[in-house]
C-alpha cells in the first residue's frame, strides 16, 4: 500500500448532511460517532462540519426541494477525492414520503439522493443501525484509496 492510500485509510473525515427525513437515521449516525459503544473514531472516522475538510459525505433523508441546492453546493465544496454514502431508506429510494402514494409524483421530494449527486455507497435500513453505517463507510473506502 502506498503512502497515499495508507494515509487516506488512517484518517477519514466524514461530514453529515441531513436533507429532511425523520431524524431517525440522523440520530443513529450521531450515536455511531458519539456513543462510546460504537465510537467511530476507533475506525479512524472523524466527524467534521466543514465540507473543505471532509472526504466522505454522509447523506440522510429524501432530499426535499429546499435541500436540493444546499446539498449540491456542499458536494461541490468538498475537494477530490470524495465519496458519498447515502444512508437510510429515504436516501436510497425516497422512502415512504415518495412512494406511499404510488405513481403520483411527489411535490415535496426532489430525491432520492442519487438523482441529485452521485452516490458511491448505499446503506439500507429504516432507521439505519450504527453498525451498518460503519460497514457502509468501510465499503466506500476503496474508492477513496484508489483515487488519484
Amino acid at each position: 500500500m502506498s503512502l497515499k492510500s495508507y494515509s487516506r485509510a488512517r484518517a477519514v473525515h466524514a461530514m453529515l448532511v441531513y436533507t429532511g427525513g425523520c431524524n431517525g437515521c440522523d440520530i443513529e449516525i450521531v450515536n455511531a460517532v458519539f456513543s462510546p459503544k460504537f465510537d467511530a473514531e476507533q475506525y479512524k472516522i472523524f466527524l467534521t462540519w466543514n465540507p473543505r475538510e471532509a472526504d466522505v459525505l454522509i447523506v440522510t433523508g429524501p432530499v426535499t426541494k429546499h435541500n436540493e441546492k444546499p446539498l449540491k453546493e456542499i458536494y461541490d465544496a468538498i475537494p477530490e477525492p470524495k465519496a458519498v454514502i447515502a444512508v437510510g431508506a429515504c436516501a436510497l429510494m425516497g422512502g415512504v414520503y415518495k412512494n406511499i402514494h404510488g405513481d403520483i409524483p411527489s411535490e415535496e421530494i426532489a430525491g432520492p439522493v442519487d438523482q441529485v449527486i452521485p452516490v458511491d455507497a448505499k446503506v439500507p435500513g429504516c432507521a439505519v443501525r450504527p453498525e451498518d453505517l460503519l460497514a457502509g463507510a468501510v465499503a466506500a473506502l476503496p474508492l477513496l484509496l484508489d483515487a488519484k
Binding site: 448532511v17 425523520c22 431524524n23 431517525g24 440522523d26 462510546p36 429524501p62 415512504v96 406511499i100 415535496e108
Partner: protein, 379 residues
C-alpha cells in the same frame, strides 16, 4: 407580537449572523438569523420549511392502518408518540375499548421513549455546551434504553408498537422482557443519579448555563410554549394527568421556576426518575389477558381530535374516517408551538449561547414542518 413586547433597542441592530442550513450545533436543517449588536443577540428569526414532506397530504385517502404507520415517520425521536396518538384517534372514533394490558404496554413504551428523548436532549445540550465528555457519557447511558426499545419493538428507532385495538403481538411482554426492563431501569436510575450529582456540582457548567436563555412565564404563555419548556417557567401543566390511562399511576409533575437553560436541563434530569417510577409501577401491576382486540368494525366518523403528552409537550392528531380511509388529517406537534419560545429565548444572550437557547426548547424540526394556521393568543 404586542407592540410593547418588541425588542426595545431595535434601531441599534448592526449586523446579522446567519447559521444554517447545515450547522454543527444544529444537526437538523433549519436556518436561524441572529441580529446582533456587539455579539449580543437583539432579535432572532428561525426559518423552517426544509423538512416539509407534506405528510398530511400524503395521508389523505390512505387506509387508516397505513396512515397510522406513516405518522410514525413524522419524527424519528418521538415516533411512538405519533403512532400512539394517531391510533387513539381511530379508537376514539370507532369506540374501541382496548385491553388493559395493551394500554399498560403502550405506557411503558411511551415512558421508555421519554427516557431516550430526554437523554438525547441532555447529550445534545452538553454537546452544544462544548462538553464532549458528558455528551458521550449520556449517549452511553442512553444505549441501555435503546437496547430495551429494540428488544420490545424489534427496531432501534421506528418500533411501531400500537395498532388499532391494542399493541402488536410481537410486543408482548413476557417474564424475561419484564426482568430485563426492570434491570435496565435500575441501571439507568443509578447512572442518572451519579450524572446529576456530577453535573450540578460542576462550577464551570453551572456558570455557563445559569441565567442563559431565560424565558419568562408571561412570554412562555404568550408564545404558546408547551411541555417541559412551559413547565420550566413555573407553569404546572402536564397532559398526562388528564389522560385516563395514566390514572392508575403515581407520579410527580416536575416544574422549575427560572425558565433558563439550567432549569430546562435539570427539568429533564428530574423527569427521568419519574418516568422510571411509572415504568416500575406498570411492570409491577401489569394485568394479564390479551393484548389486542380485533373485534372492532370499521365505520365512518366525523373529525376526531386526540391530545396526548409526549416528551416535548402537547401533541394533536386529528382526522375523519370515510370507508376506512383517512380524510382531513391534521397534526400539530409540540415543537411548532415552541418556535416562538426559541426565538424569544435567544434574545439578550451572547451569540455563543444562542444555539444553546434554541436547544433548551428541545427542537425537533422534522416534527415542526407541518402546515399550520397561526392565530394570536390573548392572555
Amino acid at each position: 407580537m404586542d407592540e410593547n413586547d418588541k425588542p426595545k433597542r431595535q434601531e441599534v441592530i448592526e449586523t446579522e449572523v446567519t447559521m444554517g442550513t447545515v450547522h454543527s450545533a444544529a444537526i437538523e436543517p433549519y436556518r436561524v438569523r441572529l441580529f446582533v449588536e456587539d455579539e449580543i443577540v437583539r432579535d432572532a428569526e428561525i426559518t423552517v420549511g426544509l423538512n416539509h414532506r407534506g405528510i398530511e397530504r400524503i395521508m389523505e385517502g390512505l387506509p387508516v392502518e397505513k396512515a397510522n404507520s406513516l405518522t410514525e415517520k413524522i419524527c424519528g425521536i418521538c415516533s411512538n408518540s405519533h403512532i400512539w396518538n394517531s391510533v387513539l384517534v381511530a379508537e376514539k372514533g370507532l369506540g374501541i375499548e382496548i385491553p388493559e394490558r395493551a394500554s399498560y404496554i403502550r405506557i411503558i413504551m411511551g415512558e421508555l421513549e421519554r427516557l431516550h428523548s430526554h437523554f438525547l436532549y441532555l447529550a445534545h445540550g452538553n454537546e452544544v455546551l462544548g462538553h464532549e465528555t458528558f455528551a458521550m457519557r449520556l449517549f452511553y447511558i442512553r444505549e441501555t434504553v435503546m437496547e430495551l426499545l429494540r428488544m420490545i419493538g424489534g427496531n432501534r428507532v421506528q418500533y411501531g408498537v400500537s395498532i388499532i385495538g391494542g399493541v402488536r403481538p410481537r410486543c408482548e411482554l413476557d417474564l424475561m422482557r419484564i426482568q430485563k426492563i426492570s434491570e435496565g431501569m435500575d441501571l439507568i436510575e443509578q447512572k442518572i443519579t451519579e450524572f446529576a450529582d456530577r453535573f450540578v456540582s460542576d462550577p464551570m457548567i453551572m456558570s455557563r448555563i445559569t441565567g442563559v436563555g431565560v424565558l419568562t412565564k408571561k412570554d412562555a404563555l404568550r408564545l404558546a410554549a408547551t411541555g417541559p419548556t412551559l413547565r420550566s417557567t413555573g407553569v404546572d401543566l402536564d397532559l398526562r394527568r388528564d389522560m385516563e390511562i395514566y390514572d392508575p399511576f403515581e407520579f410527580d409533575v416536575i416544574t422549575q421556576e427560572d425558565g433558563d437553560v439550567k432549569s430546562n436541563l435539570l427539568m429533564r434530569v428530574l423527569e427521568i426518575p419519574e418516568s422510571i417510577k411509572i415504568i416500575r409501577q406498570a411492570l409491577k401491576n401489569l394485568p394479564s389477558g390479551p393484548i389486542t382486540d380485533r373485534s372492532w368494525e370499521m365505520q365512518d366518523t366525523g373529525i376526531i381530535k386526540s391530545y396526548i403528552e409526549v416528551p416535548r409537550g402537547k401533541l394533536l392528531h386529528s382526522y375523519a374516517l370515510e370507508e376506512g380511509r383517512v380524510r382531513g388529517s391534521i397534526v400539530r406537534t409540540p415543537s411548532i408551538t415552541n418556535i416562538g419560545a426559541m426565538q424569544q429565548a435567544c434574545i439578550g444572550n451572547h451569540i455563543s449561547d444562542a444555539q444553546l437557547a434554541i436547544v433548551q426548547c428541545d427542537p425537533c424540526f422534522t416534527c415542526t414542518d407541518r402546515a399550520i394556521k397561526i392565530t394570536q393568543i390573548q392572555i
